[in-house]
Structures are given as structure tokens and as C-alpha cells.
């Protein structure tokens, strides 16, 4: 394959990676930004979304897109409700202490993983894409659904951005993010905002997983990578910055894609990882974070 087509493929793949990253990270960006807690169970919420998509696919008859739409609605609701319960039962009682939250969410991670293993099983299972369209370029073929994921990621990010900037709920969340004590003084029910944010963050992770699972597969350990990558994206982007999250996802996705053209896969992965780390080393506040 010539260099041109190779680059084209690398860029397309990079774009898809960026889309997946931003879908996984957008919820974490909210939670981390507003609540300033490290939710180690974020990846498990993502996994649950994928697993629910698999169950729904088995339950909803008819064409794949119907099950897909059903999962797209159902998974965020179920996972969001679970997250709200975790918030109310555990995190609130810990007063969102950063360190205690890490331990608690590690505990939640174990419980969710075991529940998935017991009720869903250890196998990797595929979920059909809502539509089956593949197109052939002169040099290689490509999945149409992957491009749909890119579009969906753009739509989700746009919706979250509009929600944060144009709605009252978004305003309340941003106010809480800036200073929770001041927000409380202005009569904002901070605990409700936190519960809502935590549920929304988890719901977004689940929705991202429903979109992602047709190009991957559902597996009970699949939450691990989205967790780490989400954290990386959110921090590189700059805490609480949606634009930063998007740009960081693009930087990581595209650099990953392009670097993989020139090196053997493992070496490419090492170099891409170090490159992204260096971004933070020389810009510790992230790409769009406020200077300290």
C-alpha cells in the first residue's frame, strides 16, 4: 500500500480512536470536573453499557437497529440509576473525600466486575451494528459504522456542551464546579447536583459503550482501558474543559494512528504513550487548563 492511502487509513483510524476516547471520557470529564473525585469505577459503567447492549440485542426482536436504539435509551438509564445509588449510598457519606472515594470506587469496581462475570459470563460477545454498511476504497475497505461512531461522538459532545452552557442544569453544574460553598450559599442543592452529575457521567459512559460495542465486543474486563484512557484524555485536555477533552482525544487518537505507521505495533504504542506523557510534562495544566 502506498504512503498516501496508508496515511488516509491511519487518519481515519485515528479519528475513530478519538471518537471512542471522547465518548468514554466525556462522562468522566463531567464527574472529575464538577466533583473533583477520581471515580475508579467509571470504566465499569462503560462495561455495563456494553453488556446491557448485548442483553437488549437478545431481547428485542426485529432488525438490529431497533435493539440498538432500545439499548441507547435503556443502558444510560439503568447505569445512571446505579451510579445515583452508589453516590447516595457511598460517596455522599464519604463527603466526597478524594482518597476515600478512590478506595470506595475500587470496591464498586470489584463488585460490578464480579456481578458481570456471574450474570453475563467471561466470554467476549459481539453485538451487531445497527446497520451493515461497508465501503471499498481502491486500496482498502472500511466500516461505515465506524464513521457513524465519529458522527455520534460529535453529536454527543455537542449535546453535552449545549447542555452545560445553555441550560439551567448546566449552569448549576458549572457553578458547583467553580466553588461548591458559594453554590450552596446561592441555594443550590449541591448534593443533588453531585448525584445528578455522577449519574449523568455514568449514563454517558454507558451510552458511549452502546455506540462503541458494535465495533468491538462486550466483555466483563473491557472497562479497564476506557478508564485509563479517559483519565488520560481528561487530564491532558485540562480539568473540566470539554473542548480540551475533545482536542486531547484528537491528539491522542491521531498521534496513535500516525505513529503506528512507522513502527512495529508495540514500539508505536510505547512511543505514543511517552509522547502523550510529554505533553503533560511540558504543559502540566493540560492543553486547555487554566494556568496555576
Amino acid at each position: 500500500m502506498g504512503f498516501g492511502p496508508f496515511l488516509l487509513l491511519a487518519l481515519m483510524e485515528g479519528l475513530v480512536t478519538a471518537a471512542v476516547l471522547s465518548l468514554a471520557a466525556v462522562g468522566l470529564s463531567l464527574v472529575f470536573g464538577v466533583m473533583r473525585v477520581v471515580n475508579v469505577a467509571h470504566g465499569e459503567f462503560f462495561m455495563l453499557g456494553a453488556v446491557i447492549a448485548w442483553f437488549v440485542a437478545g431481547l428485542v426482536p426485529g432488525p438490529a437497529w431497533m435493539a440498538f436504539l432500545a439499548a441507547l435509551v435503556l443502558a444510560p438509564l439503568v447505569v445512571g440509576a446505579l451510579a445515583a445509588a452508589v453516590d447516595g449510598l457511598v460517596l455522599k457519606r464519604l463527603n466526597y473525600d478524594p482518597e476515600a472515594t478512590i478506595v470506595a470506587t475500587i470496591g464498586v469496581m470489584y463488585m460490578v466486575q464480579q456481578a458481570a462475570l456471574s450474570f453475563y459470563g467471561p466470554d467476549a460477545r459481539p453485538v451487531a451494528a445497527p446497520f451493515d454498511w461497508r465501503f471499498q476504497l481502491p486500496w482498502f475497505g472500511y466500516s461505515g459504522y465506524k464513521l457513524f461512531v465519529v458522527a455520534a461522538a460529535v453529536a454527543v459532545l455537542l449535546a453535552v456542551w449545549l447542555g452545560m452552557t445553555r441550560t439551567r442544569a448546566g449552569l448549576v453544574m458549572r457553578a458547583t464546579q467553580v466553588d461548591r460553598d458559594v453554590a450552596r450559599a446561592f441555594g443550590i442543592d449541591v448534593e443533588r447536583v453531585y448525584m445528578g452529575t455522577f449519574a449523568l457521567g455514568a449514563g454517558l459512559a454507558a451510552m458511549g459503550a452502546v455506540l462503541y460495542v458494535p465495533i468491538s465486543q462486550a466483555h466483563y474486563l473491557m472497562g479497564h482501558d476506557p478508564l485509563l484512557l479517559s483519565f488520560i484524555v481528561v487530564i491532558i485536555g485540562g480539568l473540566g474543559s470539554l473542548r480540551g477533552t475533545l482536542v486531547a482525544a484528537l491528539v491522542i487518537g491521531l498521534s496513535d494512528g500516525v505513529i503506528s505507521m512507522f513502527f512495529s505495533p508495540t514500539l508505536a504504542k510505547i512511543l505514543a504513550t511517552l509522547l502523550v506523557a510529554m505533553v503533560l510534562v511540558f504543559r502540566p495544566q493540560g492543553l486547555f487548563g487554566a494556568k496555576a
Binding site: 483510524e13 467471561p122 467476549a124 475497505g141 468491538s216 496513535d256 505507521m261 512495529s264 505495533p265 508495540t266
Partner: protein
């Protein structure tokens, strides 16, 4: 040493037991209520990355133990299997060996699959001087890296498996091979041994693409597959395998593509008729044990499937979506029968006889096909502590794997310097 004379009666009784359904309940209690049970510790991948295998390893072993018990147990003693989860982790694996050997009071330990767990736990087994029979297919045992207490009697090691594939690949599919494999031990064994083996057939590996194990998407590496590739040799493990195949299909699509040859490890516990796997149609796979029941399958194969609870497609009889790890799990069954054979041959009575037991194991040579070995005949090399059996090559036809070739034991034999019998206990 003759093994058939020891085995014939029990084999018949196994089959009788199976025919009668759960015959265990029907057997009079006093027959096996006298001697203390033989406790076999099973190091199980119940959680972690190996869990899909672990579940079937557990089912197979439980079935084998039930069959043996129904037929009177081992040397008149009932077999009790103690499963202990190692989380597919070498550190926990070592702890599990200690627990099984210590407080659990097991006579011996078996069952480990993932090679890093074997490596991490083997030194402890050696120090605790307890036989440790792995079902891993790794080359770690035969390579001589481990110790006198570690044996692999139930499955052919990957070096032998791979070497037997090369002649067929070179003569049937092509001589210019590109390999795609995970960048860890299992993949490295493939890389090293297949490259050598295909060269011996006048073929050549023209590219080696090692994929880091954390990777979840593969398309961007496919352009590294040289255009002149005749055979794409792929062996991936882990949950991302489905993505790998799906993306490969999308990448090549309707265009020209190399012949595909893979190891079924990629698709263990995965339904070969899954959406996205259509691309594999017409491609070939190594199978240790054919998942879809071959037309010429004998009595032992049928009985084995019935005992474990696997249908003719290799899925659970109770849930057709629950696909087994058929190409590997037979190793648990055969390892347990190997234990039976060695315990009975050595007159093993308790932990004090463990050394005698290992020596009896090392003395085993021929392991004929039968109810004990539904996968086929094997030959055990006491010096290498490794069994060698026949291998299968199957073709994907209509979403189902159909055997097209079977290798002989001799094709897989190789020479190396390993001689565990020269090592002290």
C-alpha cells in the same frame, strides 16, 4: 510399562457409568466410603483474562472426576477436586499452589492454562515438592525452564503444534507467510517456531507483526501486511479477537486477500457463526480437538461430549450460545486420567509417595486413544515431561469448522536437551 491392562476395566466402567446417566448415585456407598479421597487441587482461571477458559476447564474436570468416581475412583479412592481461583495472575497463582499444597491438603495440583501463571507458580510447586500438572500447551515445560515436579501430560506443547502445521501450510496455502500475533509469550512461541518450521519447508515468513496485548483495534496495523503475502498466519488471544477478525474482513473486503491460517485459540469460547466472522469462511484453523463433532467420531468422543455437556457444535447442551474452549479443555480430562494411571502404577498412598508418583509419570510412554483420551493417542516423553499428540486442521464451511487434515504424533516430535529425570527432586 503397559498401561492398557490397568485401564481396560476402568474404561469399560466409565462408559457403563455414563450410559446409566448419573450412576454415581446408584453405586453403593460402602464401596468408596472407606478410603480417604484423593484430593486434587485445581488452579483455576475463574476470574481475570483466562475466565472464559477457566469455566470450561472446571466443567471438563468435574465431568472427568465424576466419570472416574463412577468407575470406582483412582486406586479405589474417590477423587475430590478442590478448585481455587488464581485470577489468571502469577502472584495469586503461586499463592494458590501454596494453599492447595498446604491447608487444603491436596495430593497434587493440576489445571493451569496461562503460561505466565505456570511460570510464576512452578517454582513454588517445586519447593513444596508437589506434582504440578499443567494444561497450558506452553513450551515452558518441554523447554526445560521449570523443575522436576512440573509436567504437561494432557496436551501437546505449542512448539510441536506449530511445527506440524508448517508442511501443510506450505504445500496447501502458500510459502510467503505474514504472521500476526500478540506480543507475549504465546505469540512469541508462534513467531519463533513457525518461522523455523516454514523455512524448513522452503517457505518464508516475510513479516512479523506483534500486537501489544492491550490493543483493542487493529486496522491501522494491516497496511504493514506486505502485498505479496500468500498466507496470513494469525493467532490472537483475548476478548479483542472478534474485533481483529471483523476488522480484517472490513479491510480486505471484496478485494484480493491472502489465504488465512489461524490458531483456534483466537476463537475459543466464541461462536464461529457470530456476526462479523463471515470473513473467515473458507479459511483454515489449527484445532487441538475438533469443536464440531467429526462425522467419523468414535464412541469415546461421543461419551466425552455427553459427560462434559457439550453438543455436536461444541456449545453447552443447555445453552447453544455458551461455546466451549473445545480445542484445549480435553487436556483436563486427559490429565486426570493420566493421574489415575500414574497413581495406580506407583501405588501412591499419600504425600510421602509424591516422588514415586512423579517417577511413575516419567515412566509413562504410550497413551492410546480411548475414553481416557478422546482427543486421540498421545506419546509421553518422560525426559521432557511433555505429551505429544495428533493435531487437526479444519476449514470454516458455513460458519462451522470441518476437519480437513490430521497430523501424526511423529511430525510433532523434536529434539532438545531437556532431561528432567536428570534433575534432583
Amino acid at each position: 510399562m503397559t498401561t492398557t491392562s490397568l485401564f481396560t476395566p476402568s474404561r469399560r466402567r466409565v462408559l457403563q457409568g455414563m450410559g446409566a446417566g448419573l450412576a454415581t448415585a446408584a453405586l453403593p456407598g460402602h464401596v468408596w466410603g472407606q478410603a480417604a479421597p484423593l484430593k486434587i487441587g485445581f488452579q483455576l482461571h475463574r476470574t481475570g483474562i483466562g475466565a472464559a477458559y477457566g469455566r470450561w476447564y472446571e466443567r471438563t474436570t468435574t465431568a472427568a472426576a465424576a466419570a472416574i468416581n463412577a468407575a470406582g475412583g483412582i486406586a479405589g479412592r474417590q477423587v475430590e477436586i478442590l478448585y481455587e481461583d488464581d485470577a489468571t495472575d502469577p502472584k495469586r497463582g503461586a499463592e494458590v499452589v501454596e494453599k492447595l499444597a498446604g491447608p487444603s491438603g491436596c495430593d497434587l495440583i493440576m489445571g493451569t492454562l496461562f503460561s505466565h501463571v505456570v511460570m510464576g507458580a512452578a517454582p513454588r510447586a517445586g519447593e513444596l515438592k508437589i506434582p504440578y500438572l499443567v494444561c497450558s500447551e506452553g513450551y515452558h515445560v518441554a523447554s526445560g525452564a521449570l523443575n522436576r515436579w512440573v509436567l504437561q501430560p494432557g496436551i501437546t506443547d505449542v512448539r510441536a503444534q506449530i511445527s506440524t502445521m508448517a508442511p501443510w501450510v506450505a504445500s496447501t496455502l502458500g510459502k510467503k507467510v505474514t504472521m500476526v500475533f500478540p506480543d507475549y509469550a504465546f505469540g512469541h512461541d508462534h513467531r519463533d517456531f513457525f518461522t523455523t518450521a516454514i523455512a524448513a519447508q522452503g517457505g518464508e515468513v516475510i513479516a512479523q507483526i506483534a500486537i501489544p496485548p492491550t490493543e483493542t483495534s487493529f486496522t491501522r496495523y494491516f497496511p504493514q501486511i506486505p502485498a505479496e503475502t500468500e498466507v496470513l498466519y494469525h493467532v490472537m488471544v483475548g476478548p479483542a479477537v472478534l474485533t481483529f477478525v471483523k476488522e480484517l474482513g472490513e479491510f480486505y473486503g471484496t478485494g484480493a486477500k491472502p489465504a488465512l491460517f489461524g490458531f483456534i485459540d483466537s476463537l475459543e469460547a466464541v461462536d464461529t457463526a457470530s456476526p462479523g466472522l463471515e470473513f473467515l469462511e473458507g479459511s483454515h484453523f489449527w484445532e487441538g480437538h475438533c469443536r464440531a463433532k467429526p462425522a467419523d467420531a468414535g464412541e469415546a468422543e461421543t461419551a466425552y461430549r455427553a459427560a462434559v455437556g457439550v453438543d455436536d457444535n461444541g456449545a453447552s447442551v443447555s445453552d447453544a450460545k455458551d461455546v466451549s474452549t473445545y480445542a484445549h479443555m480435553f487436556s483436563c480430562w486427559e490429565t486426570l486420567y493420566f493421574i489415575k494411571q500414574a497413581v495406580e502404577a506407583s501405588g501412591y498412598a499419600g504425600p510421602a509417595d509424591r516422588q514415586k508418583l512423579v517417577e511413575a509419570m516419567e515412566a509413562v510412554t504410550d497413551l492410546p486413544e480411548g475414553a481416557e483420551r478422546p482427543q486421540g493417542p498421545m506419546r509421553f516423553d518422560g525426559k521432557k515431561h511433555q505429551a505429544f499428540g495428533v493435531q487437526n486442521i479444519s476449514k470454516m464451511e458455513g460458519g462451522k469448522l470441518v476437519r480437513v487434515h490430521q497430523t501424526t504424533i511423529e511430525e510433532g516430535l523434536y529434539d532438545n536437551d531437556t532431561d528432567y529425570t536428570a534433575m534432583s527432586f
